[in-house]
């Protein structure tokens, strides 16, 4: 029996977050979220729309990395120039992203660390499309290194995406589109199912304890005897091979560790 890597366990967990019966665009940003979106489409969520990574819609998820003889078969066209109309502002999208900071409210930061807005200590990308994503469509996150530097105490330095912070609910504003589905990390899967959307440990990767997750998190985490994160079966692993023929997933975690435990 082939061993399951931590990367493959995370891909499987992320693909579960993409599970839907809606016809929405799945945007997996980065290798693991992107493979996961493809896996979701090939298994439980065939209605998902996705692009080739650029501007064309495909019904066969595009393998990541160099394509060789592989040619995409475009079923449609979804360029950036139509993205806000077609996907984001109509709520017909689910994005899985990797922000630099996340706080207890699910607010994230991709913009800057420390200092002031006039002179940040560390300038990062900028808010990109995070503000719009967060108020219009479902979102989830993949965090390859679970630590208190990512899951910060207090608020993130710069609120790039809206979360469930009651103090930031502008009176009269429509926040009904805010929908945070989950966070997959190298230690566990979390959801927003706690009191007032508090973050909760939903499942633990094999060999990881709640204490270990809490020590790696800057804010309190709810947990109610979480199960072990499910392993992908051999058929799922073969689909992952197909979506990632160059094994780029093996470069996500240092040393490409195996998921501890026996698997299925």
């Amino acid at each position: 029996m082939r061993q399951v890597s931590l990367a493959e366990l995370c891909i499987f967990a992320c693909s579960e977050l993409f599970r839907t019966d809606r016809e929405i665009v799945a945007s997996g940003i980065g290798p693991i979220p992107r493979i996961a979106a493809g896996l979701a489409k090939l298994t439980h969520s065939p209605g998902l729309l996705m692009t080739d990574g650029e501007a064309f819609l495909v019904e066969e998820p595009t393998p990541i990395g160099p394509r060789g003889d592989y040619r995409i078969q475009a079923s449609g066209h979804l360029p950036f120039s139509r993205f806000f109309d077609a996907a984001v502002w109509s709520g017909r999208r689910h994005a899985m992203v990797t922000p630099t900071q996340i706080d207890r409210f699910g607010q994230t930061n991709l913009s800057a660390l420390g200092g002031t807005h006039a002179r940040p200590k560390v300038q990062m990308l900028g808010v990109r499309g995070f503000p719009g994503n967060s108020v219009y469509h479902p979102n989830s996150m993949f965090i390859p290194q679970h630590s208190p530097r990512v899951f910060v105490a207090g608020e993130v330095d710069f609120v790039s995406s809206a979360g469930y912070n009651p103090d930031r609910r502008i009176p009269g504003g429509n926040f009904s589109g805010v929908s945070l589905l989950g966070i997959v990390t190298d230690l566990c899967v979390m959801d927003f199912g706690g009191a007032d959307h508090a973050i909760r440990i939903a499942s633990l990767h094999p060999g990881v304890s709640c204490d270990q997750v809490r020590q790696s998190t800057g804010f309190p985490l709810e947990a109610d005897d979480p199960p072990v994160t499910p392993f992908p079966d051999p058929h799922t692993l073969s689909l992952i091979d197909r979506l990632d023929p160059h094994n780029l997933r093996s470069t996500v975690f240092k040393g490409n560790p195996m998921a501890r435990g026996t698997g299925t």
Partner: protein, 274 residues
């Protein structure tokens, strides 16, 4: 002066026009862009008073190092907005409106930091919305695939980003192109659907093959990732921008392109795979 620069990150950037600004003494600029090396270079050269942006990135090199340096030194004023708000601001300007309402930005830091105001829907819903101000441009700079002398453009390739709306938001639009023809209808009538904005918006055209280098210009050529890596690494050199500018701007376009193997080398750069 407020300049809008078309393209997206390291894609379809009017880099030759940007280099020409860098060779001139034009300064104190307000720049609006989905930023890549265009923004990095103008910041590094001290030409930017204010930047309107949602990100500045070179894709495979996520963080634009010259932009970072300028920000971390507190050298530029910024209006940081969401990518969708940005195009909304261009559309407000295109429609000659003072603002367009949006939910985007609610619950984040961008409204407060950008001094954005709220409006209340006058209808029964009474919803509170952010008023995204128009991004009015004195001029837009774009690089397109083809153009004729009257300003009829043709854009080819998979995605034109928001080039159309930069053109519409501007008082004047200046276009560089890979290929300039006399009457486009005599040469490429089958591609008229690539005419995504009208010649009445275009005040000036110039033929500069390779004019997007080192950014990508599909279907003609891909980005020059080696050049972009060298450009990014140069930000760590003690010589600073003055030394980097000799290679990444140069005295004129011909010498610039010669430093990267010439027009033929640029034309053979493979399209990126995403």
């Amino acid at each position: 002066m407020t300049l809008g620069i078309g393209g997206w990150g390291p894609r379809r950037k009017p880099m030759a026009l940007v280099r020409e600004i860098l060779r001139s003494d034009l300064t104190d600029l307000t720049i609006a862009a989905y930023g890549g090396a265009d923004v990095g270079m103008l910041c590094a050269a001290g030409r930017v008073r204010k930047l309107i942006f949602a990100f500045v990135s070179l894709d495979a090199i996520p963080l634009e190092p010259w932009f970072r340096q300028a920000r971390e030194a507190g050298l530029i004023e910024v209006l940081e907005v969401d990518e969708g708000m940005f195009q909304w601001g261009l559309k407000a300007a295109a429609y000659r409106l003072p603002f367009l309402p949006t939910r985007v930005g609610l619950g984040t830091d961008i409204a407060r930091l950008g001094g954005l105001k709220y409006v209340t829907s006058p209808y029964a819903d009474a919803e509170t919305l952010i008023a995204m101000p128009a991004i009015r441009l004195d001029a837009a700079l774009l690089h397109v695939n083809r153009c004729d002398w009257r300003g009829n453009v043709q854009l080819l390739g998979p995605d034109f980003y928001y080039d159309e709306w930069f053109a519409r938001a501007a008082d004047a639009c200046f276009v560089s192109c890979e290929e300039l023809v006399d009457k486009i209808e005599c040469h490429y009538p089958e591609d008229a659907r690539g005419n995504i904005f009208e010649r009445s918006l275009v005040q000036g055209v110039v033929e500069i093959p390779g004019g997007a280098h080192p950014s990508s210009m599909p279907p003609a050529y891909g980005w020059d990732m080696r050049a972009l890596k060298d450009y990014a690494e140069a930000a760590r050199d003690p010589g600073g921008w003055a030394s980097a500018a000799a290679r990444f701007v140069g005295p004129d376009e011909q010498s610039y392109l010669a430093g990267f193997g010439g027009q033929e080398a640029v034309a053979s750069l493979p399209l990126p795979v995403f």
